[in-house]
C-alpha cells in the first residue's frame, strides 16, 4: 500500500503539480492569442515577445522595489511590480495598434499581412528586450520559495516521497483562476464584453448595431496585454526569465489555442492544460514510479522516458498536427472566420 502511495505521490510531485501550473500559464497565453484572433482576426506572432516585454518591465520594477527595501513577505516582490508591467505592456500594445495594425485595418488587408506586421513588431520587441535586459537568464523570484516542502510533506504523512509545492506554482494557479473569472465575468456581464463577443461573432452585424470598433479593439488590446504580462510573469517566476524561451513558448501557446479552437476562450483553457499535461507527462522518466508500483520489475537501464526533454516542442507540434488532421476547427468548433 505504501508503495502505491509513494508512487502516486511521486507522480503528483513531478507531473501533476508542475503540469497544472504550466497549463495555467499556457492557458493565459492562449486566451490572449484567442482574444486577438477573435476580434482582430490574425495570429499574433509577437505574442511570446510581448510576454517577454511585460515580464521585463515587471522585473525592472521588482529590482527597483527590492533596492528600495520593499517586500511582500512570503509572496514574491514581482507581484507588487506586476501593475507596472501590465500598464507598460498596455501602452505598448495600444501604440503598436495605432502605429502598425490600424493602417491595415483601414485597408482591410488579408490576415496574412497582419501576421507579417506582427512579425515586425516581434522583431522590435526582441531587440528592445535584449538591449534593455540582455539575452541571459534572470531569476527574479523572491519571498518564500516553498509553500509545502518535501520534508514537511514526508513528516506529515510518513511517506518516503514528498510533494513540493512552490509558492510560484500556487500563485500561478490562484492568479490564473482570478484572471479567467474576471475575464469571463467581463465578457458575459458587461456591455463592452457583449460588444466584443458580438464583434467577434459577426463584425458587420455588430457594426450595424452600433458597436464602436474603436472601443472593442482598444479593450481587446488592454485585456490581451494584461493576460500576456500576467502569463509571462508567472512563467518567469515559476521557471526563470530568458528572452529566447519566451519566443519558443509561442508554439505550445498556439497549439493550445488551436486545440481548443481559435476564437474560443473556454477552449484556450482546456487546450492549455492538454498541451501542458501531455508535454510533462511524456517527458517524465517513469522509472521510479514503476518501481514503486511493480517492485522488483526489471527494466534494464531504461529511464522509461517516452520523449527526451530536448524534444518537448515536438509534443505541442504533434498535438497540433493531430488536431489539424482530425478536427481542424478545434475540439470545441472554432468560429469559421477566415
Amino acid at each position: 500500500m505504501d508503495n502505491l502511495l509513494n508512487g502516486l505521490v511521486l507522480f503528483l510531485n513531478f507531473v501533476v503539480v508542475p503540469a497544472t501550473s504550466y497549463g495555467a500559464q499556457l492557458a493565459l497565453g492562449a486566451l490572449g492569442v484567442n482574444l486577438i484572433f477573435g476580434v482582430l482576426r490574425f495570429s499574433n506572432f509577437a505574442h511570446g515577445d510581448t510576454m517577454a516585454f511585460g515580464t521585463m518591465l515587471t522585473i525592472l520594477g521588482t529590482w527597483a522595489l527590492q533596492s528600495a527595501g520593499f517586500s511582500l513577505g512570503f509572496l514574491p516582490t514581482a507581484l507588487a511590480a506586476l501593475p507596472l508591467g501590465i500598464a507598460g505592456t498596455i501602452l505598448f500594445c495600444l501604440a503598436a495598434d495605432r502605429l502598425v495594425y490600424a493602417h491595415y485595418r483601414r485597408q482591410k488587408a488579408a490576415p496574412v499581412v497582419f501576421m507579417m506586421a506582427s512579425m515586425g513588431v516581434m522583431f522590435i520587441l526582441n531587440g528592445v528586450v535584449r538591449i534593455v535586459i540582455g539575452p541571459n537568464e534572470r531569476n527574479f523570484a523572491d519571498g518564500e520559495r516553498f509553500l509545502v516542502t518535501a520534508q514537511q510533506f514526508k513528516d506529515a504523512t510518513g511517506l518516503l516521497e514528498g510533494v513540493t509545492i512552490r509558492t510560484s506554482q500556487a500563485l500561478t494557479l490562484a492568479v490564473a483562476v482570478l484572471a479567467v473569472l474576471a475575464l469571463f465575468l467581463f465578457l458575459q456581464r458587461t456591455r463592452t464584453g457583449a460588444a466584443m463577443r458580438a464583434f467577434s461573432d459577426n463584425e458587420t452585424l455588430a457594426l450595424l448595431c452600433g458597436v464602436s470598433p474603436k472601443v472593442v479593439i482598444r479593450t481587446t488590446w488592454i485585456i490581451a496585454a494584461t493576460l500576456m504580462t500576467v502569463a509571462g510573469v508567472l512563467y518567469g517566476l515559476d521557471k526563470s526569465f530568458r528572452p529566447f524561451t519566451y519566443f519558443q513558448i509561442l508554439l505550445p501557446i498556439f497549439a493550445a489555442a488551436i486545440v481548443g479552437g481559435f476564437g474560443r476562450p473556454v477552449g484556450a483553457i482546456i487546450g492549455g492544460f492538454i498541451v501542458a499535461f501531455s508535454e510533462i507527462a511524456l517527458t517524465y522518466a517513469y522509472r521510479k514510479v514503476v518501481l514503486y508500483f511493480l517492485p522488483g520489475s526489471d527494466m534494464g537501464d531504461s529511464l522509461l522516458q517516452l520523449v527526451p526533454t530536448d524534444y518537448k516542442f515536438s509534443i505541442s507540434f504533434v498535438i497540433l498536427v493531430v488536431i489539424l488532421i482530425i478536427a481542424p476547427t478545434g475540439i470545441l468548433k472554432a468560429k469559421s472566420s477566415s
Binding site: F37, Q107, A117, G120, D310, Y311
Partner: protein, 459 residues
C-alpha cells in the same frame, strides 16, 4: 528595368567601398553570404510572392539542407558504422513498416476502427524501434567521442548534396503541406514554425547522425584548398609581381614574412572567389528558372490563384495541389541554400540555427526587395545582408554617441555597449514595418502593379 540596374549599381558600389576601405576578404565573405541569402529569399518569394503562403520555418528547411550536405559530403566513420550501423538501419526499417501499415489501415478502415487500430500499432512500432535504436545509438556515440561519435556521411563530392538537399526540403514541405494547407492561412505558419523548431532540435541532439553541438567539421570543399594553394609557385610569383614595389622597399627577412602574409590573403581571396563563382552560377540558374516559370502559363495560373483563389478554382484549377507544389518548390530552393551554406562553412554548426537569422531575416529581405518579384527578392537579400553585417559597428557607434556624456565606468553604458549587437534586430524590425506600411510593393515591385494592389488591399 532601369530601376533594377540603378539599384544593383548602388550595391556594386557598396561592395567596392567595403573592398577598398575595409578589406577584399570581408567584401567577398559578405558577398558569398549575400548570394546564399539571395537563394533563400528566392525560395521564400516563390511561396509568399507567387502564392501568398506564409512559411515561418525557413530555418528548418535550411537546417535540413545542411544535414544533407553533411551526410553526403563527410567521410564515413567506419568504426562507428560497424558498431551500430546495422542496428540503426534495422530500427528504421521496423519504424517504416509500422508507420506504413498504420497509414494503410487508416486509409482502409472506417468508423471507430479507423482510429483505434492504427494508434496502438504506431505505439508498438515505436517501442520496437526504440528497442533496436537505443543500443545502436549508444554504441555509435561511444565510438571515439572526442573525434567523431557519429556515423559520418557517404564521402561523396559535396556538390551532389545540393540537389539532394532540394529534394529533402521538398519532401518535408510535402508532409507539412498535406496537413496544414487548405486550412486557414495561419495554420501553415504555425505548423512550419513548429517543424523548424523540431528539425533544429534534432540536428542539435541526434549526435549519432549530425554530431550535434560538437559540430561536424572537415567537410570536403568543392573549391581548391587554401593551404595547398599557398604553396603553388605561380601564386607566389603572381603575388610577388603584384606587390613588387612594396616588397622591394623591405629588407630580406621582412620580405619573406610580408610575402607569406600576402600569399595567405591572396589564397583566401581565391577560395572565396571560387565559392562566389559557384554560388553565383546556382543563383543565376535558379533566378532564370524562376523568371521563366513566372512568365509561363504555369506562372499565370499561379498568380491567378493567388489573386483570387475562388475564381481560379471555379475555372478548374486545382488550388490545393498548386499550393502544395509551390510550397515544395520554395522549400527545395531553401534546402539547396542550406546545403550551400554548410558547404561554405566546411562544417555543420547546429547551434548557429536561430530563427531570427534564418527565418525572419529572410522575410525582411523578401518584403524589402519586393514580394512577388524575383529580381527584387535577390536585391533585397543583398541589401539586407549587407546592412545586417555592417550595422553591428553602427550599433556600437550609436551607443557610444548617445552615451558619450556618461562615465566610462557607468553600468548603463557598459551594459548598453554589451547589448549593442541587438540594435540591428531593432533596426530590421523597423525597416520591415516601414517598408510594409509605406512601400508594400518593395524596392523592385512585381511588374503588373494592379495585381499587387488588389492583393495588398484584400482577398
Amino acid at each position: 528595368m532601369k530601376r533594377a540596374v540603378q539599384l544593383y549599381g548602388v550595391l556594386t558600389i557598396l561592395f567596392l567601398l567595403v573592398g577598398f576601405f575595409q578589406s577584399w576578404s570581408v567584401a567577398l565573405a559578405t558577398l558569398n553570404l549575400c548570394l546564399i541569402s539571395a537563394i533563400m529569399a528566392l525560395g521564400v518569394n516563390i511561396q509568399w510572392g507567387y502564392a501568398g503562403l506564409f512559411n515561418a520555418g525557413i530555418m528548418g528547411f535550411a537546417a535540413i539542407g545542411g544535414v544533407v550536405a553533411l551526410l553526403v559530403g563527410h567521410a564515413p566513420v567506419w568504426g562507428a558504422i560497424e558498431q551500430g550501423g546495422a542496428g540503426i538501419a534495422l530500427s528504421f526499417v521496423v519504424l517504416a513498416i509500422g508507420v506504413v501499415a498504420a497509414a494503410i489501415l487508416f486509409r482502409c478502415l472506417k468508423g471507430v476502427l479507423k482510429y483505434t487500430l492504427p494508434a496502438p500499432m504506431l505505439v508498438v512500432s515505436f517501442v520496437l524501434f526504440r528497442q533496436f535504436f537505443v543500443p545502436a545509438r549508444q554504441a555509435i556515440e561511444a565510438y571515439d567521442p572526442a573525434a567523431s561519435g557519429f556515423m559520418g556521411g557517404l564521402g561523396l563530392p559535396i556538390l551532389f548534396s545540393w540537389p539532394l538537399a532540394g529534394l529533402a526540403g521538398a519532401g518535408v514541405a510535402f508532409l507539412i503541406g498535406k496537413v496544414a494547407l487548405g486550412l486557414r492561412s495561419d495554420y501553415l505558419a504555425i505548423a512550419t514554425l513548429g517543424i523548424s523548431e523540431i528539425i533544429v532540435a534534432m540536428v542539435k541532439n541526434e549526435n549519432w547522425l549530425t554530431r550535434g553541438v560538437k559540430n561536424a567539421t572537415g567537410l570536403p570543399q568543392p573549391v581548391p584548398d587554401g593551404r595547398l594553394l599557398q604553396q603553388q609557385t605561380w601564386l607566389i610569383d603572381l603575388v610577388t609581381w603584384m606587390n613588387r614595389s612594396y616588397l622591394e622597399a623591405l629588407s630580406a627577412t621582412e620580405q619573406t614574412a610580408a610575402l607569406r602574409l600576402l600569399v595567405a590573403e591572396a589564397s583566401s581571396i581565391i577560395v572565396k572567389l571560387a565559392f562566389a563563382g559557384l554560388f553565383a552560377a546556382v543563383l543565376a540558374g535558379l533566378l532564370a528558372l524562376c523568371v521563366f516559370a513566372l512568365k509561363s502559363p504555369w506562372g499565370r495560373m499561379i498568380r491567378a490563384i493567388r489573386d483570387n483563389e475562388i475564381a481560379a478554382g471555379a475555372m478548374g484549377k486545382d488550388v490545393a495541389w498548386r499550393h502544395l507544389q509551390i510550397l515544395m518548390l520554395g522549400s527545395a530552393v531553401v534546402g539547396i541554400a542550406g546545403a550551400m551554406l554548410v558547404t561554405l562553412d566546411g562544417q555543420l554548426t547546429p547551434a548557429a540555427y536561430i530563427p531570427l537569422r534564418y527565418t525572419f531575416l529572410i522575410w525582411v529581405m523578401v518584403i524589402v526587395g519586393g514580394s512577388g518579384s524575383n529580381v527584387g527578392s535577390v536585391f533585397g537579400a543583398f541589401l539586407i545582408w549587407f546592412v545586417w553585417v555592417q550595422s553591428e559597428p553602427i550599433g556600437y557607434w550609436l551607443v557610444k554617441m548617445t552615451t558619450f556624456w556618461m562615465n566610462d565606468t557607468s553600468p548603463i553604458r557598459t551594459h548598453l555597449l554589451e547589448q549593442a549587437q541587438y540594435f540591428r534586430v531593432l533596426m530590421m524590425g523597423t525597416i520591415l514595418l516601414l517598408v510594409l506600411r509605406f512601400h508594400p510593393q518593395g524596392f523592385l515591385p512585381e511588374r503588373p502593379r494592379r495585381n499587387r494592389q488588389s492583393r495588398s488591399v484584400g482577398e
